[in-house]
């Protein structure tokens, strides 16, 4: 059964009815329901288009977190060939919340790194819901060093609620690991491109997304704090997440206007989870065009352009 978000309730009802009719017809061959069911399909499509036309920031957060949204693993499987996963930070552990390794994008050798949230209860727990510990950032640092040494472009896929707030993570230097990963992003002399595929959660996202080019999927979000966290601090009420999501300006459109994201990747109607193949295809062409725009740049220019891009941010704001 499909997973519906709370605001998709009208859609769930119609799609449910159509499904019910068809199920009934399967039991009873004399029933002809196809026409009626098709009418319901059309109605459902209308509702879907309508619901997704003007999404509030909070609804975008919900879509960005949709459990059936394609995750890092799905993108890696579809976009790259010869993927060789590489494990470990050579220090303490292998963090399953971060996937990384060698791969080919087309025939081009690259290094790919991303947060993986998992797709069922078991894998979500293994992946710690995409919340990395210091080992995850240190693995990323190691892979970026490897890419830099062998002149391979780095592609990062960002999808994390944030860095893991745990006891061990703090003891082993979560802050230092994030700071060093961001620093590494700014040091490597190879193209670094980043796609926010779902949630860009705070420092945990910055550590991978301090890139030459940043693209955001249409319904992805990128924020300094979760709307719930912001609401509980500023409104003293976590239930005010809708207002907080509004105020934080975390949508792809807003980040594009601020110059933080360079490109918005369109999603299929109803979000990436309704047609993962189409979404993944759109990401593929975005990566191809970002890579080709950086292709002939010298290492020192890649570094200095990346730094300048970030120094310049904030020169213009957003209107209310």
């Amino acid at each position: 059964m499909a997973h519906y978000l709370d605001f998709e309730k009208p859609l769930a009802e119609i799609e449910g009815k159509a499904e019910e009719l068809r199920a009934m017809a399967r039991q009873n061959e004399e029933m002809d329901v196809e026409k009626e069911a098709e009418n319901l399909d059309l109605k459902a499509q209308e509702i879907l288009v309508d619901l997704y036309k003007n999404l509030t920031p909070w609804r975008k957060c919900q879509i960005a977190r949709h459990p059936e949204r394609p995750h890092c693993k799905d993108y890696i499987k579809a976009l790259f060939s010869e993927f060789v996963p590489l494990a470990g930070d050579r220090n303490f552990a292998d963090d399953q919340a971060v996937i990384g390794g060698l791969a080919r994008f087309g025939d081009k050798p690259v290094v790919v790194i991303g947060h993986e949230k998992g797709s069922d209860t078991k894998s979500r727990i293994e992946r710690n819901f995409g919340m990395a510990r210091p080992e995850g950032y240190r693995k990323a640092i190691r892979l970026m060093d490897l890419a830099d040494k062998f002149g391979l472009p780095v592609i990062t896929l960002v999808d994390t609620p944030g860095a893991y707030p745990g006891k061990g993570a703090e003891e082993r230097g979560q802050s230092e690991a994030i700071a060093r990963s961001t620093e590494k992003c700014l040091q490597i002399g190879v193209p670094l491109i980043s796609v926010i595929i779902g949630e860009g959660g705070s420092g945990g996202a910055v550590a991978f997304a301090t890139a030459n080019k940043v693209a955001m999927l249409e319904h992805s979000v990128y924020s300094v704090i979760s709307p719930e966290g912001c609401a509980s601090i500023l409104w003293k009420d976590a239930e005010k997440m809708r207002e907080a999501a509004e105020a934080l300006r975390l949508t792809a459109d807003d980040l594009y206007s601020l110059g933080i994201s360079d490109q918005i990747i369109s999603e299929p109607v109803g979000g990436a989870h309704r047609d993962p193949e189409q979404a993944i295809d759109a990401v593929k062409s975005a990566i191809a065009s970002m890579l080709s725009s950086l292709k002939s740049k010298k290492p020192k220019d890649l570094i200095s352009e990346r730094r300048k891009k970030f120094l310049k941010l904030g020169e213009k704001g957003l209107a209310a």
Binding site: E171, G173, Q174, L186, V206, T210, F310, G314
Partner: protein, 243 residues
């Protein structure tokens, strides 16, 4: 006990003499942030209570006759939070240190990023990291003094990228605050968790130093790192009278 950046400067610089460094002003309220109180109003009331323009103060001067640039974050100004202004301040401090070929000493104190600047506050993590790289490339010492409290995006960027990390005793230093962790793991945290001494034990700091000894220690470290002669303790002999 909290101490204002201005008092800190008065205690650190020789004879309490220092020159403030101007910080390029960012746009006010870049996102037109709306919560229960308007952001510009929160700013105004913080300016009124602290008498400062923003949450970081920069100064240049001499400490034990050692020329330095010092940046100090002001926790009493909206929790010391890091927005565009603090980002601009750190970039300016690094530029000034490079211009003058001086070490930068930074006193951190912040709850983290300034939520009212949303994603732009988050972007101060990479921006300040670029600033620290300027110092690194110029081979200038960058010493961080972590004071109570230093948390969130501040700890996860410039505060953890120092050549030397010194903390004031018992300062809370962390990425995620103890309350958030307790809610996540549903267990009580041990006594002293995330305090300076705990971080020292876990290898995240070089030293924990009391405020009384801080100035001398900073002078010693900086003079060694910049390959200068040992500091002269006590008063210098008075200049010879012309005859």
């Amino acid at each position: 006990m909290p101490i204002s950046p201005r008092d800190r400067f008065a205690n650190l610089f020789d004879g309490g003499i220092f020159v403030e460094i101007d910080v390029p002003k960012p746009i006010i309220d870049p996102l037109q942030f709306k919560d229960q109180k308007k952001y510009p109003e929160r700013m105004k009331s913080a300016q009124k209570t602290t008498g400062e323009a923003e949450a970081m103060l920069l100064a240049e001067g001499e400490m034990g006759r050692t020329p330095v640039v010092i940046a100090a974050q002001d926790f009493s100004f909206m929790g010391g939070s890091m927005g565009m202004y603090v980002g601009n301040a750190i970039i300016r401090a690094a530029e000034r240190a490079v211009e003058l070929k001086r070490p930068l000493i930074l006193f951190s104190a912040a709850g983290g990023a300034r939520m009212q600047e949303g994603i732009l506050s988050l972007m101060q993590m990479p921006r300040t990291t670029v600033a620290i790289q300027m110092l690194k490339e110029a081979k200038l010492p960058y010493v961080v003094v972590l004071t109570h409290p230093t948390t969130g995006g501040v700890t996860a960027s410039y505060a953890m990228l120092g050549d030397i990390h010194i903390a004031e005793p018992n300062a809370l230093i962390c990425f995620a605050g103890p309350r958030v962790i307790e809610q996540t793991i549903r267990e009580k945290l041990p006594e002293g968790f995330q305090r300076a001494e705990y971080l020292l034990d876990h290898g995240m700091l070089d030293r924990v130093t009391s405020r009384l000894e801080m100035r001398d220690e900073l002078i010693t470290i900086i003079r060694i790192l910049s390959n200068s002669s040992p500091q002269i303790k006590g008063d210098l002999p008075s200049p010879k009278q012309e005859t």
